[in-house]
Symmetry: C2
Subunit: 480 residues, 2 copies
């Protein structure tokens, strides 16, 4: 098929250059466009539709766990940003400042929110007076901006879309529970909707969020073995509450500081989908977030009755899945390649002979398998195939992760694995929890700590770096 060959030739092979493959897919599948605004991306209809599906799933899960949506201002006065010292130290270097408005110089600079803890805290101070006002479990969907030097579509952009949950609780225990609940919601989204297996764990002191007491993360492994931090959930203790003077009268009528969490996922998840499931033919979208789950491609559509019947089949299957049809003049071969490249999970082929026999052919994007299905059995067949495609994508990604997860007991082993490009992946070791060892792993092996998994294993008694008694198991990797 010449058409297909041509299309695929436009995409660099993953094996040749993974970074170029990524950029080619992102552009070719029309997920994004660049603009004259440095480091910002335009989300095109196909890319934005994936985000809408992620939003719909996440928003449903947030509401089901008792969260309410709100909207806070885009701009943060400098004095407000400075209220929590660790937080401002972490974010001040990477914000954009508004210094002029309405034709005048401002007396105080306003930063574009890099995250909204400070705004939420100011609001919480207004509305939390009594234990009866707790918990407050808020979420906001919005854009944020961080001044990044090097950017890549979805993975790291100056402006990105995300949700940020911000909650306040009576007790430390309840806040920690919320932090982990939302980490599990994120893992649920990744594994059961995006078909991306994740390792849940805690970040080291060095890697935790500016102002947090502890940060939890879900880490996914991309096709090239690199790690992608895919969502984080933070426990703040009462640090922000003290800085912002948020106090409530407890059940014993004494003043207390509440305990806080925040958590976020971003459009970065689209990058995770691309790099987890994509192949040399282009995107592969998990059915739960695919804008089009089934693409109808008529065969010999100029023949009488074919286009009509295809449109009729489309109308029927739209009742139970997201479907579309391509009635353009392009050849079937071009269409096959096009929708493979766009990652549509299933293709439905319908030609004159199929119509004669009241059947059609369903072709899977993940395996290329074809099955002939009677037209009156499509709801069951498509439902089962979409579920199976999800499972297959998940299993493949899990196998990739398992195949590229190594255990090291000595620093020499670490260096040997990290230095072998064919072994790009996770390296599990024990660690003494000394930041000096973390720094050494970075400097000498080029590895950053990904997380201390919630499911700890005892791999060894000693720290892989210094040989002193180990405190925890930790995952290392090279990260996006």
């Amino acid at each position: 098929m010449a058409d297909k060959k041509k299309l695929v030739e436009d995409i660099t092979s993953m094996e040749v250059d993974f970074a170029r493959w990524y950029t080619d897919v992102v552009k070719k599948a029309e997920l994004v466009d660049y603009s004259s605004v440095r480091g910002c991306m335009i989300l095109r209809p196909y890319g934005y539709a994936i985000w809408e599906h992620i939003q719909g799933i996440a928003d449903g899960l947030f509401k089901a766990t008792g969260h309410e949506n709100v909207y806070m201002p885009l701009l943060i006065p400098e004095s407000l940003l400075q209220k929590e010292k660790d937080h401002v130290a972490g974010f001040a270097p990477e914000v954009a400042w508004v210094t002029q408005g309405g034709g005048e110089e401002l007396t105080e600079r306003l930063c574009i929110r890099p995250t909204s803890e400070t705004l939420f805290c100011e609001h919480f101070a207004h509305i939390i007076k009594s234990y009866r006002d707790l918990p407050k479990k808020y979420n906001q969907w919005c854009n944020v901006l961080r001044w990044e030097k090097t950017t890549r579509p979805f993975l790291r952009t100056m402006e990105f879309l995300w949700q940020e949950g911000h909650t306040m609780h009576e007790t430390e225990e309840e806040a920690v529970e919320e932090t982990l609940r939302m980490l599990n919601v994120y893992a649920d989204i990744c594994e059961n909707y995006l078909a991306i297996p994740v390792v849940k764990g805690r970040k080291t002191e060095k890697e935790k969020f500016a102002g947090a007491e502890s940060t939890y993360t879900i880490e996914a492994m991309m096709h090239d073995g690199k790690s992608l931090q895919s969502g984080t959930s933070h426990f703040f203790g009462d640090g922000f509450a003290r800085a912002f003077d948020i106090q409530y009268t407890d059940r014993n009528n004494t003043l207390q500081y509440p305990f806080q969490t925040s958590w976020g996922i971003t459009t970065r998840l689209i990058g995770a989908i691309i790099m987890t499931h994509g192949d040399d033919n282009g995107l592969q979208l998990p059915p739960a977030v695919a804008p089009v789950q089934v693409m109808v491609v008529p065969i010999a559509q100029h023949k009488e009755g074919v286009a009509d019947k295809a449109v009729q089949v489309l109308a029927e299957i739209k009742g139970f899945c997201r479907a579309d049809i391509d009635l353009s003049d392009n050849s079937p071969g071009w269409k096959f390649a096009q929708y493979e490249m766009k990652g549509v999970p299933l293709r439905l082929e319908l030609g004159p002979k199929d119509i004669e026999q009241n059947q059609c052919v369903l072709v899977r994007r993940d395996t290329g398998e074809k099955v002939t299905v009677p037209l009156d059995g499509l709801e069951k067949a498509i439902g089962e195939l979409l579920r199976d495609i999800h499972d297959t994508l998940y299993r493949r990604a899990l196998k990739n992760r398992e195949d590229h997860t190594y255990t090291a007991h000595t620093f020499e082993e670490v260096l040997a694995i990290a230095g072998d490009e064919s072994k790009s992946g996770f390296i599990n070791t024990m660690w003494c929890e000394d930041p000096a060892c973390e720094a050494k792993m970075k400097e000498e092996a080029g590895l950053t700590s990904r997380c201390m998994p919630l499911e700890q294993e005892h791999l060894d008694d000693r720290c892989v770096c210094c040989g002193r008694p180990a405190k925890s198991m930790i995952v290392w990797g090279k990260a996006y």
Copy 2:
């Protein structure tokens, strides 16, 4: 009921001070909170939920008319904003400028989008090459910022949430058709979902959007007779296309400029809902966008079985409407007043005697009417009542508009009506279309042109201002 009296006392009467009534309702019903960011508001859960319902309705109608969602950058380089001269002249005075980022002074200022025509045009220039690429029918949900001197929640805030549609078409005719199609979609949203009657019309040259060839508007009358511009739809001709060099090869293989539209509605619609339907007891929400359509209030809830039964009834009605329950220790009287103030369309009361007789009482927010309904007939009864509440709200608003719409044939009549506070409303007249007359109406009668209605009537032969031959019928008013 002492509780109710107290609650209502917190809200200034509309007749005493409409502006204070508005602010009281907005705060009391917990729609917004203020922050230290001047002119920006915090949308609290109840206020944001109304916006989510408006978004859901509008987004469905946009998609049903073939539009796709995209997302453009927040920031616009100064050079890009300046490409269309009328546009920059209109917006430059009211933008916020980012001049510092990542710790450095920028070489070019970036403005926070006040609207995104320039970004869409830059993108259109990339992707529109052939007539096959047309039409492009895009929409984006986002925040925008305009540097306003005086602000009021929902009605005029520096930052607000909105949607902006941007479309490109082969022919002028098709673009004009789109402009009017979306105006009709906006009127549909207002009338059939928000229960707000609107006048559809064209803005004068003076009032049209910066850079547009013509601007269409829907104008609603608030309870106090003032006008609220509730949505606008613009036809751009090919002005932006020429400024941004967007050209396509047409069906005859010659280069052409496409024709453009844009259209938007904002969180201002929530202000319209408040000021159209609210009363001295607080909010009244149209059922289609009420976060809670039915509030269950148990009576004598301490008595055995009452709370259980109420929770059971709640679970049942949640199958067909948005419902909630108040099981707090507050008195039923407090709860009645509370949910009236929050504008919940229906209250469901359930006490021991009701349970005995397998019935409950439904109380309408709009009329106060009570009906006793068997528990097994709730789906039908609630459905009918919600529809009737919508109709009643709409009819009342329409009557208010009709009662406060005047016709003037001479300038003396205009002055007499405009000078009589009891006659605050719309004044319909004929007009010669000379901007000098429009300016005189503003200066001498304090009236601005609202629109030239699409449904024109011939009221007179002469312009109400100058007596020269009239060209069109026009609506005047005082506006928010």
